[in-house]
């Protein structure tokens, strides 16, 4: 291994390492702009020029490989002269508008110019002006400030997987721009803001809201998908004004999905519930906390006494914290009610894994897989950064295989794919099992299905390679035959030596399972609570009429209940059916913990105080327990609740994770005839927060979450027009929606997202549907 001396400090580095790598290891700072540890080397800014002994010219540290005995000086006169020369060039056309630039105060160019820039410019000619670009609702541009480091372009190509920004033009007229007036639509696009070393790309929603030095950074954990990305929430005057990533190599590396980055907008939404409210004679009136709690507990007592505790249903969102979900189920059980569930979006509750479903491995291991089978997962939209890791694995040679209901563009090479209608998904996966059996794999029992060539190719892929995983996505979990998909995936994983993993769709799906926010042996699961309507419901942070497996049943059950107590940060939707609304703290406003898909327990503190009269839900639940005079509701801190909820901590909870499922018979092998609905959960409809983040809703993905979609051939066959309203009918309900074309969908599939207010009465997320001309 070569030894290099930089600024008189010696270090041995791995062969192939660059001078920059060595300098970073030594803790020597070499100024740079285009270099970024996660991106390819461009060596175009030239800021990192250093003096290398025996080299005639200064060399860029980022691109110069270390050779044994190399002697480098990063701060010698020769090096500094070169660096200053580059800095002068960077500044001649850069507008000196720092006072009105959003990047001011956190700008690499500004910082480095302090060290290497001149006091006055020798450039007296007019400066370059670059026409503004519209990159959509998330990223603001000021392209005149661009220093052409190409980080944003490389990010698109290398990390996001899609080159949404390019650098056309030549010389001084080189410009970063999107292609053909397109906007930037990648679900990871906001990362270019962090990457941009100047104020060319900044956050549009945050623009002109605050100066970086006015903000305090508070650590948080993303409340959306099950990855548990680490965030910094930037706070001013008790409000969260933006979110940026906190680097964690094991989880989100240095990236954030747009969902994690912009959902904070919902915290400051007009829809916030700021005061406890009760419905009085058909009107909502604000009351104080004490009265609200007395009324809530009193009404619930009446139901319990009149109809028994089993007449109550307890429904919680898996985006709530461990502490909240623990106390929620504790309250239910203390009241004698076993009707508790967080799996509001599921349709199939038939199979239960022995443990709490989880990824089956650390998230970081995804990058090292050789073979992957993704089952029922729109992974780019479900867990954007998991998609990013799989993309890196593919780049490193992994074969990614897909069995799914839509031919999503995963922005990387897909080795084999079986795309089927939702009702044909079990058949498709069964084909893979059967193909494995035919190929001689030790698979216990493979359903007898006709095997296609794609399934054979896919099976062959899974039979090779060393590190393998079969991953069940969100759609596989929502599917009406989720247990059969799980059982097949499990058999395939066993036969191929792969790890079976469940991609947690929500921030705390795993935690909710660990604290047993699930029905007891005699209790009803979420769907049962709707199909056998309860007299009363207690709802924690959820909107069941949007997210349920059968939204119509949920809607009807809630509408007809005698009592609905909603604990929510938002008043909208709950107002339609609730009788008591208790304002709870939103995600950044309470201390708590999430358990991520890899079984990582992450606790966090409140970044801001709750808005209005809102209180952390765990406190509300605790006081509700007191109202009933129950024992065990006397915790003073979130830490105490956590200690009670997960007494064995992170180390102990791992033992309770497990995906093994038994006793499932695979029988739904025939796909249905005719058109059917695909009611998935769009990326920006996942939870209460994303639904209320205006910037996310304005993106292409956000808008698509409100439309019906079908493939071009189906649209043509039905004589329908794209981008026009169409009549959609399901289960006797009909509504008018915009129809968009999406050729990733198989024939006879109409995507009408679950969680669509207009489609609540459609009922089930899957099943027969029709489209009619207006």
């Amino acid at each position: 291994m070569p030894v290099i001396t930089i600024d008189d400090k010696e270090i041995e580095v791995a062969s192939g390492a660059t001078v920059m790598d060595a300098a970073r290891e030594l803790g020597i700072y070499i100024p740079h702009f285009c270099y970024h540890k996660k991106l390819s080397i461009a060596a175009n800014c030239r800021m990192c020029l250093v003096e290398v002994e025996k080299a005639a010219k200064p060399l860029p540290a980022c691109a110069t490989p270390v050779t044994d005995g190399m002697v480098v000086r990063s701060h010698s006169d020769k090096a500094v002269q070169a660096q200053k020369g580059v800095m002068e060039f960077l500044l001649i056309n850069h507008p000196l508008d720092c006072p009105i630039c959003d990047q001011g105060g956190e700008c690499m160019l500004q910082d480095i110019a302090m060290g290497y820039g001149g006091v006055a410019s020798r450039y007296v000619e007019p400066k370059r002006v670059v026409k503004e670009k519209d990159l959509g609702p998330l990223v603001a541009t000021d392209m005149t400030r661009c220093i052409h480091c190409s980080r944003c372009v490389r990010f698109g190509q290398e990390i996001a997987g899609i080159m949404e920004l390019g650098m056309p033009g030549r010389g001084e007229f080189t410009e970063v721009m999107p292609f053909l007036q397109h906007q930037v639509n990648s679900e990871l696009s906001g990362n270019v803001i962090d990457l941009c070393p100047v104020g060319a790309l900044t956050s549009k929603p945050f623009r002109y809201n605050a100066r970086p030095w006015e903000l305090s950074r508070r650590k948080a954990v993303s409340p959306h998908d099950g990855l548990g990305s680490n965030l910094a929430l930037h706070v001013k005057d008790g409000r969260v004004l933006r979110a940026t990533p906190v680097e964690n190599e094991a989880i989100n590396e240095c990236w954030l999905s747009d969902r994690d980055r912009y959902s904070y907008q919902a915290l400051n939404s007009d829809e916030r519930l700021l005061q406890p409210m009760v419905k009085d004679g058909g009107h909502w009136v604000e009351i104080d906390w004490h009265k609200a709690l007395v009324q809530a507990a009193g009404s619930l007592k009446v139901i319990r006494e009149t109809h028994g505790a089993e007449a109550i249903g307890f429904l919680a969102s898996p985006h709530q914290t461990v502490e909240e979900l623990y106390l929620f189920q504790k309250l239910a059980r203390a009241l004698g009610c076993e009707n508790v569930d967080f799996r509001i979006d599921r349709s199939d509750f038939s199979g239960q894994p022995a443990g709490v479903p989880w990824l089956g491995m650390p998230v970081a291991e995804l990058n090292n897989l050789d073979r992957v089978l993704l089952v029922g997962s729109s992974v780019r939209k479900e867990q954007p950064l998991v998609a990013g890791r799989l993309r890196q694995a593919v780049k490193a040679g992994a074969e990614l295989n897909v069995v799914h209901v839509a031919d999503d563009d995963l922005l990387c090479r897909v080795a084999n794919k079986l795309i089927a209608k939702p009702s044909g998904l079990v058949n498709a996966l069964a084909q893979v099992a059967k193909a494995l059996q035919e190929a001689g794999a030790a698979i216990a029992e493979a359903p007898d299905v006709a095997v296609g060539a794609e399934a054979r190719a896919l099976a062959a892929s899974l039979m090779s390679g060393a590190k393998k995983a079969v991953l069940l996505g969100q759609l596989a979990q929502l599917h009406p035959h989720a247990a059969e998909l799980h059982a097949l995936a499990q058999a395939i994983a066993k036969a191929t030596g792969a790890t079976l993993g469940v991609l947690a769709a929500s921030a705390n799906s795993v935690g909710a399972g660990l604290v047993d926010c699930l029905p007891g042996p005699d209790g009803l699961h979420a769907a049962g609570m709707f199909t056998q309507p309860r007299k009363a419901y207690v709802i924690l942070g959820a909107e069941p009429d949007l997210g349920a497996g059968d939204t119509a049943a949920a809607h009807q059950a809630l509408e007809s209940a005698e009592l609905v107590i909603a604990l929510s940060p938002f008043k909208t939707r709950s107002m339609d059916y609730a009788h008591v609304m208790l304002p709870i703290a939103a995600f950044a406003e309470t201390a708590g913990s999430f358990v991520s898909m890899e079984g990582r327990l992450q606790s966090f503190r409140a970044a801001v105080p709750p808005q209005g009269e809102a209180r952390p839900a765990w406190k509300v639940l605790r006081v509700l327990g007191n109202q009933f005079g129950l024992d065990g509701f006397d915790q003073d801190t979130a830490e105490q609740v956590l200690a009670e909820a997960l007494p064995d901590g992170e180390a102990g909870l791992k033992a309770r994770l497990g995906n093994e499922m038994s006793g499932v018979t695979v029988s739904h092998l025939a796909a249905a005839e005719g058109m059917e609905r695909l009611g998935d959960t769009p990326i920006y409809q996942l939870d209460l927060y994303t639904r209320r983040a205006p910037a996310l809703q304005a993106t292409e993905d956000g808008l698509a979450g409100h439309a019906a979609a079908a493939c071009g051939s189906l649209i043509a066959r039905l004589g329908l027009a794209t981008d026009k309203p169409v009549k959609v009918r399901q289960n006797g309900a009909e509504t008018i929606m915009k129809l968009i074309r999406d050729d990733s969908l198989p024939d006879n599939v109409v995507r009408v997202p679950g969680s669509l207010p207009a489609a609540v009465m459609f009922g089930t997320r899957f099943g027969p549907i029709s489209l009619e001309k207006m």
């Binding site: 080397i41 461009a42 060596a43 175009n44 800014c45 030239r46 800021m47 020029l49 005639a56 010219k57 200064p58 860029p60 691109a63 490989p65 070169a82 020369g85 580059v86 002068e88 060039f89 960077l90 001649i92 056309n93 020798r122 450039y123 000619e125 220093i147 052409h148 650098m167 056309p168 033009g169 030549r170 010389g171 001084e172 007229f173 080189t174």
Partner: protein, 428 residues
Amino acid sequence: MSATYTGTKVCLWTLDHADPASLETYVANGGYSALKKILAEKTPAEQIIEQVKISALRGRGGAGFPTGLKWSFMPRNYQGDKYVVCNTDEGEPGTFKDRDIVEYNPHQLIEGMIIAGYTLGAKAGYNYIHGEIFELYESWEKALEEARAAGYLGKNICGSGWDYDLHAHHGYGAYVCGEETALLESLEGKKGQPRFKPPFPASYGLYGKPTTINNTETLASIPWIMRHGGQAFLELGKPNNGGTKIFSISGHVNKPGNYEIPLGTPFADLLEMAGGVRNGHKLKAVIPGGSSAPVLPAEIMMDCTLDFDAIAKAGSMLGSGAVIVMDETTCMVKALERLSYFYFEESCGQCTPCREGTGWMYRVVHRIEHGEGRPEDLDLLMDVGRNISGRTICALGDAAVGPVHSFIKHFRQEFEHHIAHKRCMVGA
């Protein structure tokens, strides 16, 4: 030497024949015999490279790098595809020689590229032709068809069992694509921007595979070397500067054009061949090797021979052999303004010093030319040039600085006059 050169020509000899570009003319005069001999005798690659080394053939594209040495950099035992690329992206102002080879002697280039492919173990060869000479792209394609039909290209060449083919690619006229790694990027269908080196093309070239890139004239010289031996080629020129070289002489001469003459010929002889300075004017300055080469005043140039070493010793470069002649009526400020504009226009914009510096230099020279110069401008120009030179990804930055520094060095008083009097001293 007389006003015409009648000795051996390596590349443009077909012009002495009626149908210079035809396969018949080429074959009738010994064409493809070197290839056939190599294939028949299965000449080892080492022997071919040895002959090229002996010949002292130096890269004709501008850098003058010894071709045999470059060929020896190709990994011999590499398992996988390798490529040969011919650089006909002739864009250096003043240079117009490669186009004549493609137009008048395409088969010698084809034979050269085949021998190169055989020697270097390449799978295929590409000829990247400058975008502004599209008609040559078509005529070259036609020549390739002839060669294929005659069994010199494609499967089982000349019955040897060896497969190899050549393809044409035309650029869109970007000067920077003449830089070998930008050329490769462009050939791969990407934006033509130079790559950072190392790795060099010999290890990471076209599509990431080992690749040798040579200039058109270089490759076209190979068949002659193989036919007559490296020693004979060397003896055409002078030690360390083997062979004849095509000089594209332009500017203020009576007979501008391409002259293929031995390396080491005195400049004065070339000037005489080109009919001398026009209108009986006095010679003022010469750019001896294309616009990137530093300008030399007449008195230095008239004592110079035309070969790599002599021109380098005189403080410039033989470059591509584009000799730009300027007589006493030339305003050096205006000439530099035009040259600086070229580099400003052609900078690819990838790396900072060149992207920002070429425009800056042009604007300052432009200002001086238009009577708005300032006394400090000349020092500024020298300093900006120093900040570009040697700090860029490719040599375009240095090429842009070469004229600025040399014009000011040799003709400073003209610039000072412009600044002081806001007008030109030439013809005043």
